[in-house]
């Protein structure tokens, strides 16, 4: 085991291989507050990549309803049960994780702490998970008070982790992290289907294909990313909750990189289960309406601050403007700027990809159309 720096933990940790960061790192921000669980992203991925034999059960992108939704069943709870985690020292400037990561708590004979889902665990995605978590007393819905009765939608893809557990678990070195963009791939020519990666990935984002005899996973639509276009689940997102790009380390953060701005400067987007130790690269704006006792465990100790800053977007033209860029272009916006009330997404060379107004203009049409002498109705 080597010693590597994991900035999400605020400390060094043990990993199977020495630290070797890619030239740039594929990353994403998902705004959980805007997801409507329409599953368009899931279908966009499914029809593009996993319509083959043996892929029937695979959802490289899935959306689950927290707290009771999982795919596969109890993927997070099982590991949280096994892991000696949860301890953060928040006395310094940056929180420091004082629990164990899955690499540091690997049992004898294992490379990481993991577990294996079985067929059944994949069998019921989204069934019955949209039920309220608490009792709503008579009349409460009318009064509008839903104390303790909350849920939210968590869209998940592979995190293209800086320290992938799938990669560390493979005894054959069949999984690699591309030096040019940090995308993590299973070499389909080399994989022999031992399912060690399936056991090792805490997010359960590698899947065994019984028909090809190999394990398969999200490829971050790398042919699209290579030509500057965001992946399928991003460009098809109805709620416009997603933005794909490249993330720097905190010390190299640039204010004109949209992801750096949200993750490092405003700190409103947080990693999923940072305590696992993989430095995952999909960042979530936490749901504002969920008890933070729950979201702290899922997104780490930055949750309260992130929500506070997110709520302040109404008076923060930069933040509001950048959030408005989400879903505005299918191109990868590696840079952004705001001039007055116009927000611009740009590519690496400074070419303008899209301009969006800070506030969408509102047109109110009178109910009575004087030209046609008819009253408008809202249904076709």
């Amino acid at each position: 085991m080597a010693r590597v720096n994991n900035w999400q933990l605020g400390r060094e940790m043990s990993y199977w291989y020495p630290e070797s960061r890619p030239q740039k790192q594929f990353a994403a921000v998902f705004d959980t507050n805007k997801c409507i669980a329409c599953q368009t992203c899931t279908l966009a991925c499914k029809t593009t990549w996993t319509s083959g034999k043996g892929q029937e059960y695979m959802l490289w992108n899935n959306v689950e309803t927290k707290p009771y939704g999982f795919y596969p069943l109890a993927w997070d709870l099982n590991l949280l049960d096994m892991l000696d985690g949860g301890k953060w020292n928040e006395s310094g400037e940056r929180p420091v994780y004082e629990g164990s990561t899955i690499f540091e708590s690997a049992p004898a004979g294992e490379r990481v702490l993991g577990w294996r889902p079985e067929d059944q665990d994949y069998s019921y995605p989204n069934v019955g998970e949209d039920d309220c978590a608490g009792q709503i007393d008579g009349g409460a819905s009318i009064a509008g008070s839903h104390d303790m009765a909350w849920f939210y939608y968590l869209a998940r893809i592979c995190n293209h982790c800086t320290y992938p557990a799938c990669l560390a678990s493979c005894p054959r070195g069949s999984i690699y992290k591309r030096p040019e963009d940090g995308i993590v791939l299973v070499d389909q020519g080399r994989c022999r289907g031992y399912q060690e990666c399936v056991k090792g990935c805490p997010y359960k984002k590698v899947f065994y294909n019984a028909m090809t005899g190999t394990s398969e996973k999200c490829i971050a639509c790398f042919p699209k990313m290579e030509s500057g276009i965001q992946p399928q689940c991003f460009v098809n997102c109805i709620g416009k909750i997603r933005m794909a790009g490249y993330l720097n380390t905190p010390e190299n953060a640039r204010a004109d990189n949209p992801l750096d701005y949200l993750v490092h400067i405003k700190k409103i987007a947080l990693p999923l289960f940072p305590q696992f130790g993989l430095e995952p690269n999909v960042y979530y704006i936490p749901p504002v309406h969920v008890p933070t006792s729950f979201t702290r465990q899922m997104f780490g100790p930055g949750v309260e601050k992130a929500i506070e800053t997110y709520r302040s977007a109404a008076t923060d033209m930069d933040l509001a403007g950048l959030l408005g860029l989400f879903g505005s272009s299918e191109r990868v916006m590696t840079k952004w700027r705001r001039i007055g009330e116009t927000i611009t997404g740009l590519d690496d060379d400074g070419n303008i990809l899209v301009n969006v107004p800070l506030k969408e203009p509102v047109h109110i049409r009178p109910a009575f159309d004087t030209l046609h002498q008819i009253t408008r109705v809202n249904c076709p």
Binding site: T47, W49, T50, S51, G52, K53, G54, Q55, E56, Y57, A108, G109, E110, R111, R116, P117, E118, D119, D121, Y122, S169, P171, R172, G173, Q188, G189, R190, C191, R192, G193, Y194, Q195, E196, V198, F207, Y208, N209, A210, M211, T212, G213, T214, E216
Partner: protein
């Protein structure tokens, strides 16, 4: 004078003695003795095996490299070997109460392998997968491949009888009369097959040829010359693996051989296996 009773007791005693000596009659050799046979067979129940001496190899845990097998499963493998006309055949038999030939998430299949040094040299390669500059050759048999060779369809319904699939894009109507377009559309969703990964079905041979030069280096062998067949016995598997006789192997020049067994129920695959060290193999 013998009474009826003493005769009965004597008969019972003789019978018991016979039964005991029968079980003792399994004489095993400390090495693998490849005997010349009138023909090579793929059938583990062929009578040509009767003449071959039986070797019993104790299996040990693969606990040298991570991930390891921490808990022992299959205890021993019984081995016979025959040669004929440039070919060598190994017959492996081991106890395994459950037949595991359905792969899937957390579903692992029974398998076994024979390993030989690529070159017969005074200093042998490391027994576990060889080492750099000292390759080993492996013939590897799998129960799910056997099931496919024996006629199981290359369909998800063969693994999950209750599975329903709405639609595969490559089964779309416009492709029905164009087998080439259909096959290429199907390939698009099976990159491992497209790349010619031996793991990917459909298969005509339940055995794969591999080479290795140390743990983690296993690769397809240059020659696809191994064949094989596995059948269930009353309490486990009996399989035959054939391949050309190792170069230089003769009565004057013995070689080494090693065996490995994977027990599906125990979630064994890859490095998680029961194995032997090198066992001397003689040509008789």
């Amino acid at each position: 004078m013998f009474t009826k009773k003493t005769i009965l007791i004597t008969l019972v005693a003789l019978f018991l003695q016979g039964a005991i000596s029968c079980s003792r009659a399994v004489v095993t050799t400390p090495d693998v003795q490849a005997v010349s046979a009138e023909r090579i067979t793929l059938d583990p129940n062929d009578k040509v095996w009767d003449a071959a001496p039986l070797h019993s190899s104790k299996l040990i845990l693969q606990d040298l490299v991570d991930p390891r097998l921490m808990e022992a499963s299959t205890q021993e493998v019984f081995v016979k070997a025959i040669t004929h006309g440039g070919e060598i055949a190994f017959r492996l038999e081991w106890a395994d109460a459950s037949q595991n030939d359905l792969p899937g998430p957390r579903e692992f299949v029974d398998a076994a392998a024979v390993q030989l040094p690529t070159k017969i040299e005074a200093s042998v390669p490391a027994p576990q997968m060889g080492e750099a500059g000292k390759n080993v050759e492996i013939s590897y048999w799998r129960a799910d491949w056997q099931a496919i060779v024996d006629g199981r369809a290359d369909e998800i319904a063969a693994l999950h009888p209750n599975a329903t699939v709405d639609h595969y894009p490559f089964q779309a109507k416009p492709l029905e009369n164009d087998p080439n377009a259909k096959a290429s559309a199907e390939m698009r969703y099976a990159p491992a097959r497209k790349l010619g990964n031996n793991r990917s079905g459909p298969r005509e041979n339940p055995v794969e040829d591999l080479i290795a030069a140390g743990p983690g280096t296993l690769s397809p062998g240059p020659n696809a010359w191994s064949k094989g067949k596995g059948v269930r016995t009353g309490n486990g598997w009996a399989i035959v693996l054939t391949r050309p006789i190792p170069e230089g192997f003769s009565q004057a020049s013995p070689t080494q051989v090693a065996f490995a067994v994977w027990e599906g129920t125990h979630q064994e695959a890859g490095a998680r296996k029961m194995r032997t060290g090198w066992v001397q193999m003689l040509q008789k």
